[in-house]
Symmetry: C2
Subunit: 145 residues, 2 copies
DNA sequence: GCTTGACCTGAAGTCAGGTTCAGGTGTTAT
DNA sequence: ATAACACCTGAACCTGACTTCAGGTCAAGC
């Protein structure tokens, strides 16, 4: 069993954040010893899952639901699995979005490299330059479709 | 030249958002016709860049700086390029983070699939199961390091 | 001439996810 | 016994990115 301060250290999260999570119901089965929170293995695992679900873009409210399901037992396995499947799809979509963003950024990097070499944007502004490298053209097409 | 309503349609952004962007200085060279905003080609391009930089996680304040550089002319090419390089690195980092999240989510999907088949978590909770598939083991190792 | 609709403004409100604050308790070290 | 800590609480505050609101202008159609 750990105190809030120890857990704060271990996870690199401010104490205030851990208390906030608790207030929001993210540790539904946490024990108290005369008022003081006792973080057990269940809470540590909860925190690992919280980090994962947060990283996947899930809201605190939804994470709370998940934690409640964990307390409810095996009858909620299917819901829990569905949640992770949904998150998986969301993260995959986000990665595709980021890939397009990345292509655009790469294009812009090339653009300013070229502008610096030319000393002006004029040639670039007018039209796609004749000497646009094939790889850059691909980035351009991906993002300016 | 387009009105704010037309641009709203074209970009799928609420009129209120466009006005907010303007207030935040994201269209430093926008013209007005007796009070009414006139969106020209510069503003359309600004919006495309805004979408890209926002998608890369940049704050509005920073986007405003970039737009000011664009007005300043060729002397700021290097800063603009540096900004895009920094964003590129940030997005790449974010994608690596998401990849780890995704591995964790895949592991959790497998976990609950197995729990549903077993009808209980008991076997899973104890230890890494003997029959943990190699592919899943990799996901597990990636995320539980 | 009056309503409708698209535009304008500044100020206030909203939401998530925390953080900070003021005041209180309980255990340990001097 | 008193100070120093780590813990506790509820309430207020903060930030970013918008949205909503109240009130006003102006051109076009009936």
């Amino acid at each position: 069993m750990y105190t809030i301060g120890q857990v704060s250290e271990m996870f690199g999260l401010p104490v205030s954040t851990l208390r906030y999570y608790d207030k929001e119901g993210l540790f539904p089965s946490m024990r108290r010893q005369s008022g003081i929170r006792q973080f057990g293995e269940a809470e540590m695992e909860a925190l690992r899952v919280i980090e994962c679900l947060k990283a996947s873009g899930l809201e605190i409210k939804e994470i709370k639901k998940f934690m409640a399901w964990c307390v409810e037992g095996p009858s909620t396995f299917a819901q829990r699995k569905a949640l992770f499947e949904t998150r998986k799809a969301a993260v995959e979509a986000e990665m595709r979005r980021l890939q397009k963003t990345l292509d655009m950024l790469k294009f812009k990097c090339w653009y300013y490299e070229t502008a610096i070499r030319d000393g002006s944007e004029d040639r670039l502004k007018e039209r796609i330059p004749d000497d646009l490298p094939a790889e850059i053209k691909k980035l351009y097409d991906n993002t300016h479709a």
